[in-house]
Symmetry: C2
Subunit: 277 residues, 2 copies
């Protein structure tokens, strides 16, 4: 079995490392890409093809893992050449994935979405998949992948990812607003402690990590939440998502890009509060 | 030790039942109250005094558990008569509890707040307490109470309760918005399932219960969240709380008062969606 990657950023590099360790042949093409990407690909042990079209023609499973803006143009270029199944694992909306996969001429397509951190979990990260070839794609579970089939239609996996994102980002901003107010009153520890009594033992650690991540990734998250809002607004009024977006923007506006992941949320709140003066 | 209750609604009746079972003397006065309250009090085994002032003068611990609007007037009437410690356990804002307890002339005061459901847990429900006499109040833990001291100042316990309420109600409305959108797409089960993979094993059950409770108690919750918003807005911008309020109001507007707790959230969403047409 040959697995081809179009694009070789963090997702492709983490997933292919796992596959190669399990003895799977991995192909990619890094011609014209940055020296960092070229280095990553060479170190990985993947076979390096001259052109993306060679990857598309040779792979049994072709995984498109490019920047969101590139998803459709890559499908336009390679969709007519793909011989095996074509998996769009890009971080894009259901609408975009429908467009991109409609360009795959053999109609063997999978809408895939990564849930959680590929950085932390490598190729064992949870992947959800929908589409007529999701079952074929899930054969990678024999090589350590953690693919879960969530439906037969293109757009379902991406929709589930968006909805999950609405929940997790919304909870982070509820925490932000609540714990910041508590911090201003000197009651943040007590409030986290009391909520933990009903929310369970992992609550405090998870809450702190959400506060820190929200500040550290505020730029990316405020971009992502706009996509989520656009998607949810087509279905229903989206008041919580709107407030979530506004607070992420405010965090980025006040704190800017942080060089390092802060050690604790109090440090972040201190800065957030100062910037308010 | 004698514990006196002013007001004999659900809170007083549940708490006194536990105390009486543990052999504590309980006093109250139900003169002029509804026949339902009179019956509750008679059944409880509490000693029935003729006047609230008799309760105030005789009790070692006097617990004010009346409707929120009554908290201050009760303190005005009884604060000068209270011989022991005066505990305000009413569901009121930090500002209101400060006003009420400033009327207690011997200055032995406790700001107390119930966390969770006294209906489900009886006198073992979590109670948080702050103020100079919180430690004396916490002696009721010897009789099965679950009092946790959270600070020495009046207003702290009530503030923590408000902040917790901002979190729990906010999370409920995030769930409402997210799971309703998922329901419209036929993906609600999958979305709950995927979120549960990272949120832990109790997530699904707790999410469903939050959705159902939000609809069943939408009137009370939309009233409570206004108090929470007023409190938080004094500290900081409160965008999430504002959206939380708006959705609770929308739920009550569309569903009205439900006679029975619905068995599942799908039933509620169906109705919520229909009322949108």
């Amino acid at each position: 079995m040959k697995v081809g990657f179009v694009g070789f950023g963090e997702v492709a590099s983490e997933l292919s490392r796992g596959l190669i360790d399990e003895g799977v042949n991995v192909l990619t093409c890094v011609d014209g890409r940055s020296s960092k990407t070229q280095k990553l690909a060479k170190q990985s042990g993947a076979k390096l093809c001259l052109r993306n079209r060679d990857v598309a023609e040779e792979a049994d499973i072709l995984i498109s893992s490019v920047t969101p803006e590139m998803a459709i143009s890559v499908a336009y270029e390679l969709g007519k050449l793909s011989k095996g199944i074509y998996v769009d694992i890009n971080n894009v909306s259901p609408e975009t994935v429908k467009k991109s996969l409609s360009l795959v001429e053999n109609h063997k397509v999978v809408d895939a979405a990564i849930i959680g951190s590929v950085h932390k979990k490598g190729h064992k990260v949870q992947i959800i998949a929908s589409g007529n070839s999701a079952e074929d794609f899930s054969k990678l579970n024999d090589f350590g992948f953690n693919i879960k089939i969530v439906g037969s239609e293109i757009g379902q996996a991406s929709a589930i990812k968006m909805l999950r994102s609405s929940y997790t980002k919304g909870v982070s901003m509820i925490l932000w607003e609540t714990v910041f107010a508590a911090y201003k009153l000197g009651l943040d520890k007590e409030v986290l402690n009391i909520i933990a009594e009903t929310e369970g033992p992992n609550f405090e650690e998870s809450a702190k990590s959400r506060l820190i991540s929200s500040a550290f990734h505020s730029k990316r998250r405020s971009e992502e939440i706009i996509e989520v809002k656009d998607f949810l607004s087509q279905i229903n009024e989206s008041l919580m998502v709107q407030s979530t977006e506004n607070i992420f923007e405010l965090i980025f506006k006040r704190l800017g890009k942080l060089d390092e992941r802060p050690a604790n949320y109090q440090e972040i709140f201190k800065l957030f509060d100062l910037e308010n003066k």
